[in-house]
């Protein structure tokens, strides 16, 4: 029974029905039970949609419609993201939230460096308290509708909302749906709980609540030994469709392409096929290139981790490990594919624990970065390949002497001669200005080849210097051009009056001559007095 066929009885009519019911069995009628189960099922699915959509990082807007449409459960316009519905249905596996089995949506944050943190857990629980006399077809339905409205309001109020609005380069928000016991240990100390609301039904009372973390300090200890910076984590920049069937965590940044939701999802499935075939058999050295080639699927939708191909990585949602840091983001399962291909060199089952560990040793360190980088970068581009080779090149030089590193990577002209220039640096007058008569240096030797005192120890041909060509300086009139002039007179001798020896000398002389001068002045004192009188 869809919402559109659902006709409400006005209260007078429903009262008549109630009277009729009382005479019958007071337990829930089969039709009511069926309706109730349906309501709870769709309520659970809509709850998940509201929560995930509230963490997409964008403002949600749906239109009111005065004429009812068939798909608007609980008279609210809530869009259905197919991937989210699929995940929710998978988690529920045909069951309903019941006593002891709660449906939980866990929201966590994952930084671009690989740190993750659980932010909140939304729980839909059922307890034994029954409200027998409540009318399923009307009251429960409207109260569920009210509860969804409350959920809409509360999802914008918890701290994770602001964080999710700012997600992007530094971090992303992921969600995970699970069914069973509520796990709150990952929320840290002092987490707060807010109850969204309750709805009593004849089979129990549904409670919707949220437990959210208050201590937002990121965990300092890294979960992984190697965490290469993940580039291009902004998934929505690279794909228009959501990441497909990732085993555990899902990003909250799906952009619905409107009416093509079904088609889009099918598209994602196809890309998964592509993924699995290119992964399972490739040897380690080709792993990088195979990933590179994988990155060019025509649809652009990339799911690099299809659970069925990943036999060693157990479905993490079965690995319910409380206190695990933020669960396991989907990207981490990818290197485990490498495991398989790598002839078991990498640890297999707890691949989820150490996803970035020990890339195949045949690849150089640059490849490891590329490996993890490639898990994130969704856009295919030949520049990726170029980047790879570049990193390889630098890595290859790491063990060689530094002189070669600086020169080989610097790509100087005349780089072949550069080592000698390096040696000559000590003698370079520009670096170490000479005191007085300069010691032999090829540079000065070449300039002062005419002067007697400076004769170059090394000939001009031993090094190559880029000619110093000052702009606009060509002048045929002068015998010497500006550049030569500049070089020649770059280090002029100090002024005599400023030299310390001279000044020291004069100081001593002055002191000695002082008494004589005083004697002379005393003799001429009358002349000085007359002079002063003329001034006044």
């Amino acid at each position: 029974m869809t919402a559109s066929l659902f006709n409400y009885l006005s209260d007078t009519e429903s009262e008549k029905l109630l009277v009729a019911h009382v005479t019958m069995d007071s337990d829930l009628s089969p039709q009511d039970r069926k309706d109730l189960d349906k309501f709870i099922k769709f309520f659970a699915l809509k709850t998940v949609q509201v929560i995930v959509q509230a963490r997409l990082g964008e403002k949600i807007c749906t239109r009111s419609s005065s004429s009812p449409t068939g798909s608007d459960w609980f008279t609210l316009a809530i869009k259905d993201i197919p991937e989210v519905t699929h995940e929710a249905k998978k988690a529920l596996a045909g069951q309903l939230p019941s006593i002891g089995r709660s449906m939980c949506v866990e929201i966590s944050l994952k930084t671009s460096e690989g740190d993750s943190m659980e932010l909140e857990t939304w729980c839909l629980e059922m307890n034994e308290k029954c409200e027998k006399d409540i009318k399923v077809s009307y009251t429960v339905y409207t109260r569920l509708s009210l509860l969804l409205k409350s959920l809409l309001a509360i999802t914008r109020v918890t701290p994770a909302y602001k964080l999710s609005r700012k997600q992007g380069h530094d971090y992303v928000i992921l969600y995970r749906i699970y069914f069973g016991d509520v796990q709150l240990s990952g929320l840290g100390d002092g987490f707060q709980t807010v109850r969204v609301g309750i709805v009593g039904t004849p089979i129990g009372t549904l409670t919707l609540s949220c437990a959210y973390r208050t201590n937002l300090a990121l965990m300092s200890s890294r979960q992984f030994e190697r965490t290469a910076p993940i580039m291009g984590i902004i998934i929505d920049h690279f794909v228009e469709r959501p990441l497909g069937n990732t085993a555990l965590m899902h990003p909250c940044n799906y952009r619905a392409p409107g009416e093509e939701e079904g088609g889009a999802y099918a598209g994602v499935e196809d890309s998964q096929e592509v993924c699995t075939t290119s992964f399972s058999t490739s040897p380690p050295s080709q792993l990088c290139t195979s990933r590179m080639s994988y990155q060019t699927p025509p649809m652009g939708a990339v799911d690099v981790c299809h659970p069925t191909a990943c036999t060693t990585a157990a479905h993490p949602h079965q690995m319910v490990v409380p206190g695990k840091e933020g669960g396991v983001p989907q990207v981490l399962l990818q290197p485990s594919h490498g495991t398989q291909a790598d002839h078991g060199r990498l640890p297999s089952c707890p691949a989820a624990d150490m996803p970035h560990q020990a890339p195949p040793s045949s690849c150089s360190s640059g490849d490891a970065d590329v490996l993890s980088r490639s898990t994130e970068v969704k856009s295919a581009s030949p520049s990726e390949a170029i980047e790879t080779t570049f990193t390889r090149k630098v890595g290859a030089f790491v063990n060689k002497p530094t002189t070669q590193v600086t020169t080989a990577s610097l790509d100087l002209p005349f780089a072949a001669f550069a080592p000698r220039a390096y040696d000559l640096e000590e003698n370079d007058p520009m670096v170490h200005p000479p005191a007085s008569p300069t010691p032999s240096s090829p540079l000065q030797g070449s300039l002062h080849s005419q002067s007697s005192s400076q004769s170059g120890g090394q000939t001009q041909e031993d090094f190559v210097m880029v000619d110093f060509k000052p702009a606009f300086s060509k002048d045929d009139l002068l015998p010497m051009d500006l550049g030569t002039f500049y070089r020649e007179f770059q280090n002029p001798p100090q002024l005599a009056s400023l030299s310390i020896d001279v000044s020291a000398q004069s100081m001593a002389e002055d002191l000695d001559s002082l008494p004589e001068k005083l004697a002379i002045y005393e003799k001429d004192i009358d002349e000085f007095d007359a002079f002063v009188d003329t001034l006044q």
């Binding site: 559109s4 008279t75 316009a77 609005r165």
Partner: protein, 218 residues
């Protein structure tokens, strides 16, 4: 029948008054609005769909959800602006309250007018503060955002107690329970009133005015 009454208090800066009141009033109305009723024969009816819209506040670190109805938004904004202007003009020290009252109409015989019986009243007490510098304003932005979040949680708590709600009316009575003037949503009948608290803390004049107005309304 007892009328349920809830009071929410907020202290904020002058420029935050509009958005804060809009956020709280819209949150309440979100829960107190349904889709348009379409009555069919045999006393059954179907309900239209209510869309929702996220709205960011410019002067407060806060986002609230409101019903996607521009008509309703306009009505609420008008009332909030009136209140804000009255608050500004009153010369009081920036204290006042605005009330959102949900009522049912009960038809009476001539010459008496219809009775308006409130069943839920939400009162938001506003205290406007003046801040000295930009740093204080920034802190106020965040603090008011948090406070409004708490108020939303309070509102949701009250509503989820599932206390009295008017019975779903028949077609002839729908206008006694719901406001059917809007074309896309149908809130319960409501009215918005306000009072500016003068320095004595009383506001006799406005109360008297309301009483007289209600009695004489035809």
């Amino acid at each position: 029948m007892n009328c349920r009454s809830e009071v929410l208090e907020v202290s904020l800066e002058g420029r935050q008054v509009d958005e804060a009141l809009l956020s709280l009033l819209h949150t309440i109305l979100l829960h107190r609005s349904t889709g348009k009723f379409h009555y069919k024969k045999e006393g059954t009816y179907s309900i239209g769909t209510v869309g929702t819209q996220d709205t960011d506040c410019d002067f407060i670190d806060f986002t609230f959800v409101r019903v996607s109805s521009d008509e309703l938004d306009r009505v609420i904004r008008k009332a909030v602006t009136e209140f804000k202007d009255a608050l500004g003009n009153s010369g009081s020290d920036g204290m006042g309250q605005i009330s959102l009252e949900f009522y049912q109409k009960k038809k009476s015989r001539w010459p008496f007018s219809d009775e308006c019986i409130p069943w839920e009243v939400w009162t938001i007490k506003v205290n406007v503060v003046n801040l000295a510098n930009e740093q204080e304003r920034q802190i106020c932005r965040e603090k008011v955002g948090e406070k409004l979040g708490e108020k939303v949680i309070n509102i949701v708590e009250v509503i989820n107690r599932h206390e009295y709600l008017p019975k779903m009316p028949t077609q002839s009575e729908v206008d006694n329970v719901f406001d059917t003037s809007l074309k896309d949503v149908q809130p319960y009948l409501y009215k918005i009133t306000y009072q500016i608290t003068d320095s004595l803390g009383t506001s006799v004049s406005t109360t008297m005015r309301r009483l007289i107005k209600d009695t004489l309304a035809l």
